[in-house]
């Protein structure tokens, strides 16, 4: 499913026109991007949370040539899956709906 499919699915389920559903989806991902760029956390109950993780630089090796290279420190958004989503995705636990354990 890509962004367009998501917009169409949202418009079908919520009764919004596709144009407005597009705006909603764009606002949602735009806000998340902005928050991550600022270095803020994003937390959505049931879905998961995003956090920007810092990684230290290190000297690595090019596996093909064996040359040493310096890898610069970087920041990457990290996603932690929420409890509800985790249980629904997991095949074994997803069968009973609601209080599954």
């Amino acid at each position: 499913m890509n962004k367009l499919d998501l917009m169409v699915a949202l418009s079908k389920d919520s009764g919004l026109s596709v144009t407005k559903a597009t705006e909603v989806v764009n606002v949602f991902f735009g806000e998340m991007t902005d928050a991550l760029v600022r270095g803020d956390r994003v937390e959505i109950r049931g879905l998961g949370s995003f956090k920007v993780k810092r990684y230290r630089g290190y000297t690595g090796r090019n596996p093909k040539t064996g040359k040493k290279i310096k890898v610069k420190p970087k920041k990457l958004p990290f996603f932690k899956c929420g409890k509800e989503l985790k249980e629904r995705v997991d095949i074994h636990k997803s069968k009973p709906k609601g209080g599954s354990r």
Binding site: K3, V25, V37, R45, S94
Partner: protein, 123 residues
């Protein structure tokens, strides 16, 4: 500051507008009255539906790809032997499905460029 569902609802409410079908005299005088905002209840419902759609798709085992943001993938993990680190007990971890997120190069660049600007300011 943590961005939560409430913040997203607020932003959607502020940014998604509808044009009024029938124009009254007031709307010609005050063009800012020419649109209707969504109510808070309706927006909460819409945002909830959006989250539900994403979760539903992932629960079906399908990936969700958002260009410019990243993709949520479903990965299958085989059962493996594990150990409870607290008691040292041997246990078997069942095979399971998990969600992983891969950040898009665009987002990665944005997150990292923000850092350089900040560094330049502090030094």
């Amino acid at each position: 500051m943590t961005l939560t569902k409430a913040d997203i609802v607020k932003n959607v409410m502020g940014q998604v507008r509808f044009r009024r079908r029938h124009k009254g005299a007031q709307q010609f005088l005050f063009p800012e009255l020419d649109c209707i905002f969504l109510s808070r209840e309706r927006t909460t419902e819409i945002v909830g539906t959006l989250f539900e759609k994403i979760k539903e798709t992932l629960a079906k085992g399908e990936d969700v790809r958002i260009s410019g943001f990243g993709k949520f993938q479903i990965k299958f993990k085989w059962a493996r032997k594990g150990r409870n680190p607290q008691t040292g007990e041997n246990i078997i971890l069942r095979s399971r499905r998990i969600v992983t997120f891969r950040c898009s190069p665009k987002l990665r660049e944005k997150v990292n460029s923000a850092d350089q600007i900040q560094d330049a300011k502090t030094t």
